[in-house]
Point group: C2
Chain length 706, copies 2
Amino acid sequence: MAAPWVVWFNEIMQSDLIPFLRPAGVVVIGASTSPDRLGHGIARNLIASNYKGAIHFVGQREGRLFDRPVYDDVSRVPDPVDLAVVVIPPGAVAAALDACGRRGIRAAIVISAGFKEAGAEGAALEERCLEVARSHQLRILGPNCIGTMSTHLPLDTTFLQPPMPPAGSIGFVSHSGALCAAIIDWARGQGIGFSQVVSLGNQSDVNEIDLLPALCEDKQTRVVVMYLEGISDGRRFVQLARQLSSRTPLIALKVGASESGRRAAASHTGAMAGSDRAYTAAFEKAGVLRATDTAEGFDWAKALSSCPPLPGRNIAVLTNAGGPGVIAVDALAARGMHLTELAAATRAELAASLPPAASVANPVDMLASARPVDYASSLAVLLRDKAVDGVLVISPPPPMYAAEALAEALSPVIRAAKKPVLMVLMGSELTKGAFRLFAEADIPVYEMPERAASAFLALARYQELARRGSPPTAPPANWRPLQPGTALNEETLARACNIPRAERRLALSDAEAAGIASAIGFPVVLKIASPDIPHKSDIGAVLQDLQDEAGVVAAYSKVRERVLATRPEARIEGVYVERQVGQGQDVILGALQDPDFGPLMMFGSGGIEVEGLRDTSFALAPLSDLEAHDMLQRTWAGRRLAGYRSLPPADEKQVVEALVALSWLAHEQRNLEEIEINPLRVLEPGLGVVALDVRYRLRSQDPDSP
Amino acid sequence: MAAPWVVWFNEIMQSDLIPFLRPAGVVVIGASTSPDRLGHGIARNLIASNYKGAIHFVGQREGRLFDRPVYDDVSRVPDPVDLAVVVIPPGAVAAALDACGRRGIRAAIVISAGFKEAGAEGAALEERCLEVARSHQLRILGPNCIGTMSTHLPLDTTFLQPPMPPAGSIGFVSHSGALCAAIIDWARGQGIGFSQVVSLGNQSDVNEIDLLPALCEDKQTRVVVMYLEGISDGRRFVQLARQLSSRTPLIALKVGASESGRRAAASHTGAMAGSDRAYTAAFEKAGVLRATDTAEGFDWAKALSSCPPLPGRNIAVLTNAGGPGVIAVDALAARGMHLTELAAATRAELAASLPPAASVANPVDMLASARPVDYASSLAVLLRDKAVDGVLVISPPPPMYAAEALAEALSPVIRAAKKPVLMVLMGSELTKGAFRLFAEADIPVYEMPERAASAFLALARYQELARRGSPPTAPPANWRPLQPGTALNEETLARACNIPRAERRLALSDAEAAGIASAIGFPVVLKIASPDIPHKSDIGAVLQDLQDEAGVVAAYSKVRERVLATRPEARIEGVYVERQVGQGQDVILGALQDPDFGPLMMFGSGGIEVEGLRDTSFALAPLSDLEAHDMLQRTWAGRRLAGYRSLPPADEKQVVEALVALSWLAHEQRNLEEIEINPLRVLEPGLGVVALDVRYRLRSQDPDSP
């Protein structure tokens, strides 16, 4: 008996979560006639929200509330009812859920607190509730949450002060109920409307991942903002979010960056890869935009929920005053956006209609005399320019006309535009009417140029992430997986990645040295092995470019003689014979199993200064060539592989291959806790790479060990 | 005949600028009865602002306006009158200024546009106005400005929509009139009040530097925000602002960062030191806080204008909900603030009054049940803890009481506190009443935790800059200035900085090599001089550790023999004899004459990759030891001088000395356009530094050359 409004929703939604967003009838368990009880507020909001389904109340005793009957038992509640909102003392919740299950209700929002968040006793209560719910196949949202809002349905299951936020196209799901309350109220002043708001509470059952597909399938929701204090299943999140984000922009406000600390780790990769970096890499992999500032996240959502796709980073600025224009220009440039050069025809067309002193180059400054009609016609000209991907339009409070006139003149042009236009109304009292008009016309409007510039970056990033294509599903053709049972050691690990190692063995005689050299291949380098001589080449104790066995035999004696002559006191352990590695650039490759997201890859400037220099980038394994190339480009170590001034280019292609191969190794060898190649010597183009040192750590054999 | 309200102002103000901020009588030249003329708006605002001095109007013809006489000539205006506001067509302004001068008026605000900003003809008009004004010793603010507001006087000489912004303690001076209009209106929604607003326009006479002392001396002004599109005299600005900022916090919103581009430059220092870096260094030297985000600049001003000094970076967070609390924690940490550890006594006292499930560690989470009285008592407890330098208090919209009650309970505690307390009210409609109450009580209040965290950083930075002490006025004791007329070359420049150079000379015979070695001092290194052998040590063509003449003679032959044996085809130009430089760390020191601010110093990771790696810091010369040390600490190259893992420590002290000396050299030798020591080899502690390469460029001898 679906009501007509259910057609607003797509049918693909996970069936057992449907009643949370689209119930046919709701019962409040704990409805109260006492105005200072939450159960009163929820009853009030259900009615005030203008919910069109059935509304029922269950209370401690029979009676009436808001002109409706209050039952003393959920079994007596008539059809239809498929969602319970439970707001009673925690000790009574399990019994209430049992009663709901017996009544045939399969979804319950538990508002009540006093569970896991309150200590061991509460945790036991929560466990009991979950058992009861599972026995009835009843799904729980909460406990310790503030409920849900579906503004288009409409439906409000919270106790927050009405009215609900304006209906819009942003879905918001939050691990913090207080943040829901704060954002809902804050957003009212920002021209932000919501489609769905969901407070997740303790997530004893339904979590942020479960709800994500349902939210993305909701036809009223064009972007989802997630406030996250953690992620329930990292690998599942990445996989799911990557699929969903290609159609619905996802924005994450992930907190806890400062708490994570660093893991005690044996490698540079481990020391650098705090769990917050893993989250950043996971969001990147999943196509999720991560905002580090709460307001900024919603600024992005505003633009992503209503703008056409931004084809590139070339922005035009339209203003009637220089100061605000140059603020916008700086803000765009600081975020990596480009101030586009306007076509000659565009400049000519603008010049024809603007005063002579106006600037028709980008930023276009129409001067203070610009009327709303000038804004509209200039914007139309800019939008026709192929070099313009989007336009940032600015107005301070207009002195000669009401700002509302600007909204009326511009809105039709912006609504019809095939490119994003972001409005900046710098003001408050004098601009609030116009601000509201733009917001009502679903046009993103901001108080400051910096916030619009940030939103442009979000529009660009979303398209760029979407253009990356599918994640790699199979390793590259030249990838040679390790046979099961292969012992993991430096050699097998490097070979699996197809990365040659610089071989080095200790010789105790000239004959042995010659034999080793023949075995590892010429040319070789001979080096004294002595703990007392740190700078061996300074005293000639390193001989290079040895091309044959005779040369090695002669060099063996020479190296020893030189040491005996200059450092007679030094202990000599023998002579190292090393395959000679050519000149090149040194980088670091690393991989670390993240407990939430699997192997996290690192690339960057190697040596001992990795943590100090911080010239590193991270991404989740397995990597595509494009992702690996991207990691290189985000570091100086990677960019300089193309050559820089007198520094010759190096074999970038082989670094990408090695990084991709290492990512597959880490992806497939889950017991490989950490691996790090530092340095990896990158030879000139065509000559490949050589691992000068490989370190790794395997997971403890005993799965029960801490 | 000073009115009683002049006692509000300090007497130290520059006397000829007094009439702009504190006139005894104002005449509007161009007063109009037509409501759509600016001259009407200005007349209206003068009266509406409740200005207590004399108000006079001069118009095209005699008549009446707002019940006052309109004169047709300023000569007929009665006393008192010491400020003219001129708003007539540009071509008529010079004559009007002449008339003002003859009338004895010594200050004029020229609102009229159509001057320098409109092209050559306008520039000529502006020049003419200035000549006329100078002939009468009349000071001009503008032209092309929107006037001034003195909210406490009160006085409004603008044409902006009344009312004036709320009276407060922020002075705002701006190169953009449109930005004044925008900020004044925007600030109304932010709980921000102003003491003075000054629009500078074209600055034909009075500029931002002239006004700064007057604003800082204004007793109602506790912080000055400057919107700057440039600085009129860089050196004067730095000197003046440094003096003023020790008493009055100064905040700069300097735009144009993206436009400046890079100078064509011969050195790494030149390539890195775009003019925006010079501005950043200048603000740092001057103790001015630079904001890169407009709203953030005013967020800082709000805190700096009303908070007691922040003694350190140790902050406590007080919240009634986890989510907003962790957002605040992340935001503080991201800005380098510390979440302080509360004393055991503090935690015990909090635990005694809060529910058992509350968190009494920092962040303190009182839980949703916290009432206003709990906020007030918990805040008082936190403020008593010596480990707490400041407190960030957060409230989402309270569900069980009106937010205004929170303002009433907290305001007395915050007003009485000796430490800064910043309020965050996350909301809009439900919190606006409380927001206003806090603002009226002069308590900084923000909508989001991130903005309060940023304000805390500004409070900390202001104190840290203030604690730096005086700038260096004299060079260090061991500084040896170059005698006038000394030819500048690598040798004299390095000697002036007391930085030894690695000497190297070409020898063409073994005897010559031995002679050179004796001259430059042992030990020496011999190296083949050949354009065909890039990696000389690979073939043994470098011999080190030569301790006497005999060794050098033997080595000379050996080096040549080795080359002849391994690379018979290579051209040999001779053998280099070089003073042997020990192992160490390499850094870069540089100085570049900035046209606005004088010599800009650079320190960082040297080599050829300076621009790529960007591990550099900048500061204006001359440097104190503390400033030089600070430059080191801002780079990895500087931090690792203390030693890092297996990297031994290096002579950091000598690097500081060298940097300070180089800064004095650049400061005193103004014709030294650029100098760069790259690399500077830093030996182990106690052994000093050696310049391995010095490059420099002198200013063209011909001062007329471009």
